[in-house]
Protein backbone atom coordinates (compact mmCIF):
# COMPACT_ATOMS: atom_id res chain seq x y z
CA UNK A 1 0.00 0.00 0.00
CA UNK A 2 1.26 3.43 -0.92
CA UNK A 3 2.30 5.59 2.04
CA UNK A 4 0.26 8.75 2.51
CA UNK A 5 2.15 11.93 1.67
CA UNK A 6 1.95 14.99 3.88
CA UNK A 7 2.65 18.67 3.36
CA UNK A 8 3.51 21.16 6.07
CA UNK A 9 2.46 24.79 5.86
CA UNK A 10 3.75 27.66 7.94
CA UNK A 11 0.76 29.92 8.48
CA UNK A 12 0.74 33.45 9.84
CA UNK A 13 -2.46 34.49 11.56
CA UNK A 14 -3.41 38.12 11.99
CA UNK A 15 -6.25 38.70 14.42
CA UNK A 16 -7.52 41.45 16.63
CA UNK A 17 -6.97 39.32 19.71
CA UNK A 18 -4.59 36.56 20.80
CA UNK A 19 -5.64 33.09 19.75
CA UNK A 20 -4.90 29.76 21.33
CA UNK A 21 -3.86 26.66 19.45
CA UNK A 22 -7.22 25.08 20.26
CA UNK A 23 -9.19 28.04 18.94
CA UNK A 24 -7.22 28.14 15.68
CA UNK A 25 -7.39 24.40 15.24
CA UNK A 26 -11.17 24.30 15.74
CA UNK A 27 -11.68 27.28 13.49
CA UNK A 28 -9.56 25.74 10.75
CA UNK A 29 -11.45 22.45 10.88
CA UNK A 30 -14.77 24.31 10.83
CA UNK A 31 -13.69 26.39 7.81
CA UNK A 32 -12.57 23.31 5.87
CA UNK A 33 -15.80 21.53 6.74
CA UNK A 34 -17.84 24.60 5.75
CA UNK A 35 -16.19 24.74 2.32
CA UNK A 36 -15.63 21.07 1.48
CA UNK A 37 -17.85 19.10 3.86
CA UNK A 38 -16.99 16.05 5.90
CA UNK A 39 -15.54 14.19 2.92
CA UNK A 40 -13.26 17.11 2.14
CA UNK A 41 -12.21 17.38 5.77
CA UNK A 42 -11.26 13.71 5.77
CA UNK A 43 -9.38 14.10 2.49
CA UNK A 44 -7.45 17.18 3.57
CA UNK A 45 -6.95 16.06 7.20
CA UNK A 46 -5.67 19.41 8.51
CA UNK A 47 -3.82 19.23 11.82
CA UNK A 48 -2.16 22.03 13.73
CA UNK A 49 1.22 20.54 14.66
CA UNK A 50 2.41 23.53 16.65
CA UNK A 51 1.25 27.06 17.37
CA UNK A 52 3.42 29.96 18.46
CA UNK A 53 1.16 32.35 20.31
CA UNK A 54 3.76 35.10 20.54
CA UNK A 55 4.41 35.23 16.79
CA UNK A 56 0.90 34.09 15.81
CA UNK A 57 2.32 31.44 13.51
CA UNK A 58 1.08 27.89 13.15
CA UNK A 59 2.60 24.82 11.59
CA UNK A 60 -0.22 23.01 9.83
CA UNK A 61 -0.02 19.52 8.43
CA UNK A 62 -2.31 18.30 5.65
CA UNK A 63 -2.45 15.58 3.03
CA UNK A 64 -0.44 16.26 -0.13
CA UNK A 65 -3.58 16.03 -2.28
CA UNK A 66 -5.40 18.54 -0.10
CA UNK A 67 -2.79 21.28 0.03
CA UNK A 68 -4.45 23.54 -2.55
CA UNK A 69 -7.81 23.15 -0.85
CA UNK A 70 -6.27 24.03 2.49
CA UNK A 71 -4.61 27.11 0.98
CA UNK A 72 -7.97 28.16 -0.48
CA UNK A 73 -9.65 27.66 2.87
CA UNK A 74 -7.02 29.75 4.66
CA UNK A 75 -7.36 32.49 2.03
CA UNK A 76 -11.08 32.68 2.66
CA UNK A 77 -10.75 32.98 6.44
CA UNK A 78 -12.00 36.42 7.45
CA UNK A 79 -12.86 35.85 11.11
CA UNK A 80 -11.91 33.54 13.92
CA UNK A 81 -14.10 33.31 17.00
CA UNK A 82 -16.25 36.22 15.76
CA UNK A 83 -13.37 38.68 15.46
CA UNK A 84 -11.73 39.80 12.20
CA UNK A 85 -8.76 37.67 11.21
CA UNK A 86 -6.64 36.75 8.21
CA UNK A 87 -4.31 33.84 7.52
CA UNK A 88 -1.36 33.80 5.12
CA UNK A 89 0.67 30.79 4.06
CA UNK A 90 4.29 31.83 4.38
CA UNK A 91 5.91 28.57 3.40
CA UNK A 92 5.06 25.05 2.31
CA UNK A 93 7.32 22.04 2.51
CA UNK A 94 7.23 18.26 2.40
CA UNK A 95 8.95 17.91 5.76
CA UNK A 96 9.03 19.88 8.98
CA UNK A 97 12.82 19.84 8.80
CA UNK A 98 12.72 21.40 5.33
CA UNK A 99 10.48 24.15 6.60
CA UNK A 100 12.75 24.85 9.59
CA UNK A 101 15.89 24.82 7.43
CA UNK A 102 14.43 27.37 5.05
CA UNK A 103 13.40 29.55 7.94
CA UNK A 104 16.86 29.39 9.52
CA UNK A 105 18.42 30.20 6.16
CA UNK A 106 16.15 33.19 5.75
CA UNK A 107 16.77 34.32 9.32
CA UNK A 108 20.49 34.77 8.62
CA UNK A 109 19.81 37.22 5.80
CA UNK A 110 16.94 39.17 7.22
CA UNK A 111 16.97 42.31 9.23
CA UNK A 112 14.02 42.80 11.58
CA UNK A 113 14.56 46.56 11.71
CA UNK A 114 13.48 47.21 8.15
CA UNK A 115 9.95 45.95 8.76
CA UNK A 116 7.65 48.81 9.60
CA UNK A 117 6.67 48.96 13.25
CA UNK A 118 2.94 49.06 12.49
CA UNK A 119 3.24 45.86 10.48
CA UNK A 120 5.29 44.22 13.21
CA UNK A 121 2.62 45.22 15.69
CA UNK A 122 -0.10 43.54 13.68
CA UNK A 123 2.07 40.57 12.79
CA UNK A 124 3.75 40.04 16.14
CA UNK A 125 7.38 40.25 17.15
CA UNK A 126 8.52 37.37 14.94
CA UNK A 127 7.33 38.87 11.68
CA UNK A 128 10.75 38.99 10.16
CA UNK A 129 11.29 35.25 10.35
CA UNK A 130 11.12 34.06 6.79
CA UNK A 131 8.73 36.61 5.38
CA UNK A 132 11.02 39.22 3.96
CA UNK A 133 11.78 37.24 0.82
CA UNK A 134 9.15 36.35 -1.74
CA UNK A 135 9.81 32.66 -2.22
CA UNK A 136 6.25 31.67 -1.55
CA UNK A 137 6.49 28.13 -2.92
Amino acid sequence: MKRRGWRYLLVKIVANRALTKKAFSESLAASVEHLFGHVGLAEISPQVVSYDQECSTALVKCSREGVQKLRATLALVTEIENSPAAAFVLRASGTIRGLRQRLLLKNVFTNPDHIDSSLRRSFGAGTYVGVTENNNK
Partner: protein
Protein backbone atom coordinates in the same frame (compact mmCIF):
# COMPACT_ATOMS: atom_id res chain seq x y z
CA UNK B 1 11.38 32.64 -9.92
CA UNK B 2 7.76 33.53 -10.61
CA UNK B 3 6.85 37.18 -10.25
CA UNK B 4 3.41 37.94 -8.91
CA UNK B 5 1.14 40.91 -9.44
CA UNK B 6 -1.99 42.16 -7.76
CA UNK B 7 -3.85 44.42 -10.16
CA UNK B 8 -6.44 45.69 -7.73
CA UNK B 9 -5.38 47.34 -4.50
CA UNK B 10 -7.59 50.06 -3.09
CA UNK B 11 -5.62 51.64 -0.26
CA UNK B 12 -7.41 54.50 1.52
CA UNK B 13 -6.04 57.55 -0.30
CA UNK B 14 -5.90 59.90 2.67
CA UNK B 15 -4.27 57.44 5.07
CA UNK B 16 -0.49 57.05 4.57
CA UNK B 17 -0.14 54.67 7.52
CA UNK B 18 -2.61 52.19 6.02
CA UNK B 19 -0.98 52.61 2.61
CA UNK B 20 2.45 51.84 4.03
CA UNK B 21 1.10 48.82 5.88
CA UNK B 22 -0.48 47.47 2.70
CA UNK B 23 2.69 48.09 0.71
CA UNK B 24 4.91 46.32 3.27
CA UNK B 25 2.54 43.39 3.52
CA UNK B 26 2.21 43.03 -0.27
CA UNK B 27 6.00 42.94 -0.52
CA UNK B 28 6.27 40.39 2.31
CA UNK B 29 3.66 38.17 0.71
CA UNK B 30 5.70 37.98 -2.49
CA UNK B 31 4.16 40.47 -4.89
CA UNK B 32 6.52 42.37 -7.15
CA UNK B 33 3.94 44.54 -8.93
CA UNK B 34 0.74 46.10 -7.65
CA UNK B 35 -1.82 48.31 -9.36
CA UNK B 36 -3.13 50.99 -7.04
CA UNK B 37 -6.61 52.29 -7.73
CA UNK B 38 -7.08 56.05 -7.86
CA UNK B 39 -10.13 58.17 -8.43
CA UNK B 40 -10.12 60.35 -11.56
CA UNK B 41 -10.31 63.48 -9.42
CA UNK B 42 -7.25 62.60 -7.29
CA UNK B 43 -4.58 65.27 -7.59
CA UNK B 44 -1.20 64.47 -9.11
CA UNK B 45 0.65 65.19 -5.83
CA UNK B 46 -1.56 62.68 -4.03
CA UNK B 47 -0.97 60.07 -6.74
CA UNK B 48 2.80 60.60 -6.63
CA UNK B 49 2.84 60.40 -2.84
CA UNK B 50 1.00 57.06 -2.83
CA UNK B 51 3.19 55.75 -5.65
CA UNK B 52 6.29 56.68 -3.66
CA UNK B 53 5.11 54.76 -0.60
CA UNK B 54 4.69 51.62 -2.68
CA UNK B 55 7.93 52.16 -4.59
CA UNK B 56 9.81 52.62 -1.30
CA UNK B 57 8.49 49.26 -0.12
CA UNK B 58 10.23 47.68 -3.12
CA UNK B 59 7.19 47.21 -5.34
CA UNK B 60 6.61 48.17 -8.93
CA UNK B 61 3.46 50.32 -9.07
CA UNK B 62 0.92 50.82 -11.81
CA UNK B 63 -1.84 53.43 -11.66
CA UNK B 64 -5.34 52.15 -12.15
CA UNK B 65 -8.73 53.76 -12.47
CA UNK B 66 -12.07 52.04 -11.97
CA UNK B 67 -14.88 53.33 -14.14
CA UNK B 68 -18.32 52.48 -12.98
CA UNK B 69 -20.70 53.18 -15.83
CA UNK B 70 -24.28 52.21 -16.46
CA UNK B 71 -24.76 53.49 -19.99
CA UNK B 72 -22.82 53.38 -23.25
CA UNK B 73 -22.42 57.14 -23.63
CA UNK B 74 -21.24 57.57 -20.03
CA UNK B 75 -18.65 54.82 -20.47
CA UNK B 76 -17.29 56.18 -23.76
CA UNK B 77 -17.03 59.68 -22.34
CA UNK B 78 -15.04 58.44 -19.33
CA UNK B 79 -12.77 56.34 -21.53
CA UNK B 80 -11.98 59.30 -23.77
CA UNK B 81 -10.98 61.41 -20.77
CA UNK B 82 -9.10 58.85 -18.66
CA UNK B 83 -7.39 56.38 -20.98
CA UNK B 84 -4.11 58.23 -21.41
CA UNK B 85 -3.74 59.07 -17.72
CA UNK B 86 -3.75 55.56 -16.27
CA UNK B 87 -1.85 52.37 -16.96
CA UNK B 88 -4.83 50.19 -16.18
CA UNK B 89 -8.40 51.11 -17.02
CA UNK B 90 -10.94 48.83 -15.37
CA UNK B 91 -14.68 48.86 -15.89
CA UNK B 92 -17.08 47.80 -13.21
CA UNK B 93 -20.00 46.58 -15.28
CA UNK B 94 -23.25 47.55 -13.62
CA UNK B 95 -25.45 46.97 -16.64
CA UNK B 96 -25.45 44.66 -19.61
CA UNK B 97 -25.21 47.71 -21.91
CA UNK B 98 -21.96 48.84 -20.28
CA UNK B 99 -20.64 45.28 -20.29
CA UNK B 100 -21.43 44.89 -23.97
CA UNK B 101 -19.51 48.05 -24.89
CA UNK B 102 -16.63 47.45 -22.49
CA UNK B 103 -15.79 43.97 -23.75
CA UNK B 104 -15.49 45.24 -27.33
CA UNK B 105 -13.54 48.42 -26.71
CA UNK B 106 -9.78 48.11 -27.15
CA UNK B 107 -9.17 50.92 -24.64
CA UNK B 108 -10.52 48.76 -21.82
CA UNK B 109 -7.99 46.58 -20.01
CA UNK B 110 -10.04 44.86 -17.37
CA UNK B 111 -13.71 44.27 -16.73
CA UNK B 112 -15.21 42.98 -13.54
CA UNK B 113 -18.74 42.27 -12.54
CA UNK B 114 -20.30 43.46 -9.34
CA UNK B 115 -22.23 41.04 -7.17
CA UNK B 116 -25.61 42.18 -8.54
CA UNK B 117 -24.85 42.04 -12.26
CA UNK B 118 -23.31 38.58 -12.04
CA UNK B 119 -26.63 37.19 -10.78
CA UNK B 120 -27.95 36.04 -14.11
CA UNK B 121 -28.22 37.22 -17.65
CA UNK B 122 -24.81 38.71 -18.32
CA UNK B 123 -23.29 37.90 -21.69
CA UNK B 124 -19.55 37.64 -22.10
CA UNK B 125 -18.67 37.86 -25.75
CA UNK B 126 -15.19 39.10 -26.47
CA UNK B 127 -14.45 40.81 -29.77
CA UNK B 128 -11.41 39.33 -31.51
CA UNK B 129 -9.63 42.71 -31.65
CA UNK B 130 -10.15 43.48 -27.96
CA UNK B 131 -7.62 42.67 -25.27
CA UNK B 132 -10.05 42.81 -22.36
CA UNK B 133 -9.28 40.70 -19.33
CA UNK B 134 -11.90 39.45 -16.91
CA UNK B 135 -10.95 40.18 -13.33
CA UNK B 136 -12.03 38.04 -10.43
CA UNK B 137 -11.67 39.88 -7.15
CA UNK B 138 -11.12 37.94 -3.96
CA UNK B 139 -13.00 40.69 -2.14
CA UNK B 140 -16.21 39.39 -3.69
CA UNK B 141 -15.72 36.23 -1.65
CA UNK B 142 -14.31 37.76 1.49
CA UNK B 143 -15.93 41.19 1.70
CA UNK B 144 -19.41 40.85 0.20
CA UNK B 145 -21.84 40.31 3.04
CA UNK B 146 -25.29 38.86 2.69
CA UNK B 147 -24.82 36.01 0.26
CA UNK B 148 -23.96 32.50 1.39
CA UNK B 149 -20.51 31.34 0.35
CA UNK B 150 -21.71 28.54 -1.94
CA UNK B 151 -23.80 31.02 -3.96
CA UNK B 152 -20.84 33.36 -4.41
CA UNK B 153 -18.58 30.48 -5.45
CA UNK B 154 -21.17 29.16 -7.90
CA UNK B 155 -21.67 32.60 -9.51
CA UNK B 156 -17.97 33.28 -9.90
CA UNK B 157 -17.46 29.73 -11.18
CA UNK B 158 -20.10 30.39 -13.82
CA UNK B 159 -18.39 33.64 -14.81
CA UNK B 160 -15.06 31.85 -15.19
CA UNK B 161 -16.63 29.09 -17.29
CA UNK B 162 -18.21 31.68 -19.62
CA UNK B 163 -14.96 33.64 -19.81
CA UNK B 164 -13.01 30.51 -20.75
CA UNK B 165 -15.60 29.67 -23.37
CA UNK B 166 -15.15 33.12 -24.92
CA UNK B 167 -11.35 33.05 -24.66
CA UNK B 168 -11.07 35.89 -22.19
CA UNK B 169 -7.86 36.08 -20.24
CA UNK B 170 -8.58 35.90 -16.53
CA UNK B 171 -6.86 37.97 -13.87
CA UNK B 172 -7.09 37.13 -10.18
CA UNK B 173 -6.82 40.10 -7.84
CA UNK B 174 -7.41 40.78 -4.19
CA UNK B 175 -9.53 43.93 -4.49
CA UNK B 176 -8.35 44.68 -0.96
CA UNK B 177 -9.06 48.04 0.65
CA UNK B 178 -7.07 47.22 3.79
CA UNK B 179 -4.26 44.86 4.69
CA UNK B 180 -6.60 42.33 6.32
CA UNK B 181 -7.95 41.43 2.89
CA UNK B 182 -4.63 40.95 1.14
CA UNK B 183 -3.71 37.34 0.49
CA UNK B 184 -0.53 35.52 -0.56
CA UNK B 185 -0.37 35.00 -4.35
CA UNK B 186 -0.32 31.22 -4.21
CA UNK B 187 -3.30 31.29 -1.84
CA UNK B 188 -5.18 33.42 -4.36
CA UNK B 189 -4.22 30.92 -7.06
CA UNK B 190 -5.59 28.12 -4.86
CA UNK B 191 -8.90 29.98 -4.63
CA UNK B 192 -8.81 30.32 -8.43
CA UNK B 193 -8.48 26.55 -8.67
CA UNK B 194 -11.45 26.20 -6.38
CA UNK B 195 -13.42 28.42 -8.76
CA UNK B 196 -12.67 26.32 -11.82
CA UNK B 197 -9.25 27.32 -13.10
CA UNK B 198 -6.53 24.78 -13.76
CA UNK B 199 -3.37 24.94 -11.63
CA UNK B 200 -1.22 26.56 -14.33
CA UNK B 201 -4.02 28.88 -15.41
CA UNK B 202 -4.53 30.03 -11.84
CA UNK B 203 -0.84 30.80 -11.30
CA UNK B 204 -0.63 32.62 -14.64
CA UNK B 205 -3.72 34.66 -13.71
CA UNK B 206 -1.81 36.24 -10.87
CA UNK B 207 1.63 36.34 -12.45
CA UNK B 208 2.40 36.47 -16.17
CA UNK B 209 -1.01 37.66 -17.43
CA UNK B 210 -1.27 40.82 -15.27
CA UNK B 211 2.44 41.59 -15.63
CA UNK B 212 2.31 41.39 -19.43
CA UNK B 213 -0.83 43.57 -19.44
CA UNK B 214 0.95 46.30 -17.48
CA UNK B 215 4.09 46.05 -19.63
CA UNK B 216 2.07 46.26 -22.83
CA UNK B 217 0.22 49.35 -21.59
CA UNK B 218 3.46 51.02 -20.54
CA UNK B 219 4.75 50.62 -24.06
CA UNK B 220 1.49 52.04 -25.44
CA UNK B 221 1.59 55.02 -23.09
CA UNK B 222 5.25 55.65 -23.75
CA UNK B 223 6.44 58.17 -26.27
CA UNK B 224 6.56 57.14 -29.89
CA UNK B 225 3.86 54.46 -29.83
CA UNK B 226 1.82 54.47 -33.01
CA UNK B 227 0.05 51.14 -33.11
CA UNK B 228 0.53 47.39 -32.73
CA UNK B 229 4.20 46.70 -33.55
CA UNK B 230 4.67 50.25 -34.88
CA UNK B 231 6.74 52.72 -32.93
CA UNK B 232 8.46 55.99 -33.78
CA UNK B 233 12.11 55.44 -32.97
CA UNK B 234 13.08 59.03 -33.60
CA UNK B 235 12.35 62.06 -35.72
CA UNK B 236 15.27 62.78 -37.92
CA UNK B 237 16.26 66.39 -38.01
CA UNK B 238 19.33 67.25 -40.03
CA UNK B 239 20.33 70.13 -37.75
CA UNK B 240 19.16 69.05 -34.24
CA UNK B 241 19.57 65.29 -34.37
CA UNK B 242 16.96 62.86 -32.89
CA UNK B 243 14.10 64.25 -30.83
CA UNK B 244 10.82 62.70 -29.68
CA UNK B 245 8.21 64.84 -27.96
CA UNK B 246 7.39 63.16 -24.61
CA UNK B 247 3.77 62.41 -23.71
CA UNK B 248 2.39 63.24 -20.30
CA UNK B 249 0.75 60.50 -18.22
CA UNK B 250 0.69 59.33 -14.63
CA UNK B 251 3.04 56.39 -15.14
Amino acid sequence: MTKFADLHLKPPIGNPVAQKEMAELARCLGYSLVAVTFRPRDRDEEVNRVRKIFLDAGLDVACRVDISATSRSELLKELRVLRRDFEIVAIECKSSEALSVAQRDSRVDVIYLDAASSRGGFTLNRASSSSVHLEINMSRLTQTPGLPEHVKIARIGKEIAKAKQNRFRIVLSSGADNSMYLRAPRDVAAVGMLLGLGKEEAVKSISSIPISLVNKNRVKLGSGYVGENVRIMGIKDEKKGLEIPPRQNRS
